[in-house]
Point group: C2
Chain length 355, copies 2
Amino acid sequence: MAEQQGDAETSGGPRRGDRRPTMTDVAQRAGVSRALVSLVFRDAPGASDRTRERVFQVAEEIGYRPDSAARMLASSRSKVLGVLLTVRNPFHADMVESIYPVAERRGYEILLSAASPSRDERKAVDALLGHRCAGLLLLGPTLPSSYLAELGRKLPVVALGRRFPGADVDSVHTAEAKGVREAITHLVELGHRSIAHIDGGRGPGSAERRRAYRAAMRKHGLTEYIRVLPGDQTEESGSAQAKVLLAEGSRMPTAVLAGNDRCALGLLDAVWREGLQVPGDLSVVGYDDSHLAHLSHIDLSTVRQDPDRHAALAVQCVVDRLDGVRDGAEEFVLDPKLVTRGTTGPPRSSGIMSA
Amino acid sequence: MAEQQGDAETSGGPRRGDRRPTMTDVAQRAGVSRALVSLVFRDAPGASDRTRERVFQVAEEIGYRPDSAARMLASSRSKVLGVLLTVRNPFHADMVESIYPVAERRGYEILLSAASPSRDERKAVDALLGHRCAGLLLLGPTLPSSYLAELGRKLPVVALGRRFPGADVDSVHTAEAKGVREAITHLVELGHRSIAHIDGGRGPGSAERRRAYRAAMRKHGLTEYIRVLPGDQTEESGSAQAKVLLAEGSRMPTAVLAGNDRCALGLLDAVWREGLQVPGDLSVVGYDDSHLAHLSHIDLSTVRQDPDRHAALAVQCVVDRLDGVRDGAEEFVLDPKLVTRGTTGPPRSSGIMSA
DNA sequence: CTGAAAGCGCTTACAG
DNA sequence: CTGAAAGCGCTTACAG
């Protein structure tokens, strides 16, 4: 994966301003046929190791790089996977980082298309389709499932972080209920009883987390403490709810399960800023374990959704579909894992003392 | 920009599983020639408004979308701009959001390629080149300038947020010195004298900001207070330096100019967490004004680099080059703007009282 | 391994 | 506006 980052000097290099070299140039210079060069670059059998090496060497010399456009056009199968992401979502960033190496190992290129407040997901998907993606990885899509179903009929599609029971598309997500259950149990064992949940609204996994929160609270006999605060998986909703909670003084919950890490971060910032101690005055649990949660100064207890495993499964998922290995839609459910860090501890008011 | 997000029902739609419709399909069904369809989709003159409409309508009906690969291959000019970004950088996210609409208005598509710890910038650029991008927008690249120069010889390249004096490529960045000067002046006017700077290391703009910090401090007669702490434009470096500063107790600076917003956020979190008041105990200024700085609970005073203007200039820059309007490399310097929010105020120890 | 050929879905220029 | 044709840089199958 690591590339030569340092060597500034490039030996000669391609002639300036010229047309970019084609397969024909490589073939001529290497003294082989075009078909052979094609074969070498597709990593297909039929060339000796010596020849293979020479072809690569010549290609390097003249700066040849296969033209994706021509490749796509010529081959019925496009070896390109499209990824839809929300550009501001740190967990999506983690996912993208994980997807690249996996896809490469499977011989696929990745095309990224970002959704944002001013560019909706449909538009982002359209761009991907225009570029002939063979399959689509949708990160936490909020698209209507009828649209997804329609997409799924055109090409292999896998949704990450969200299930689409109706639409016949694959999905990879974690067992939300399990993650939430572990988080609540962890807090209860620390001595918390008043545990609130900031809801993720229409965000991926939110409905499941909300349900699981209620169920877990009931299971622990804490029905009377059930409290779901509105939110939407953004920092803003975390800080907004912090204001609500802070205004309650001593009646404030002693712990909060946030809808995701972003929400937890907003909550933490607002709470820290008011001079409260975490976890002394308030314990906070996130969801995702995005790279921000690891940061030493955040040190967020959270439910880990492993991006590497998500990526590996999702890529395999669409590749298998493309290879015709599998047919019906499948749901891959990954085990989440509670990661306890510095934002959870016994409540100050409890009999349990921290070590 | 806003699309139909709600309407789930799609009227009939393309036949399931079939090959995707081509220009020929549209031409047949609309009863016109292929050439005419091509012309309509390229928005070229030569078709009546009525025909234009019918073509679009038929295209919509059968779900036709021009094939980018074929388009690129056929036309010498590929209407695609490649964007290199670092996927974890929130300011890059802002930039990407701004780039999409501008590019679209100019008739260009955007291809995103992400660099990350495990995928270096060269690799990300290579992917872009393989997809035949007509021009490249590099967000805060840390590539060696010799490599950039080489790239610049192959296609129009513009670097955002960083100058490359040696390499003959365009750049768009802010007048770092001016931004830093304004920030320091603001702090001095509030009564601060001991103002430290957390350096951005090799990051874009860092060298300029460091120099400007030193100059501004000298200008205000605060030479003895000059203090540059090592860093690298990440949250981690902000929180790491917070630890260093917090250990100094009363000898701690009263204000810090962070290398960028991410660094400022790390610093803020660490400082809040220790129960210190911002700005009472410490004033903090960031750099970038990324979307995170706006968040109500962060409310960071920072030097704004307008992403919309960066995007507009950068896109125009490469488009002009592609159109042959301009030739030599140019440097576009934007005016930064200090945005004072809640993280700056008079130091507690000063005679000046806050209102 | 070579060599010749067809084709992917467009753009482009041209005669009508 | 139409219609026929060449070409973009590859892949793919085939005879040798």
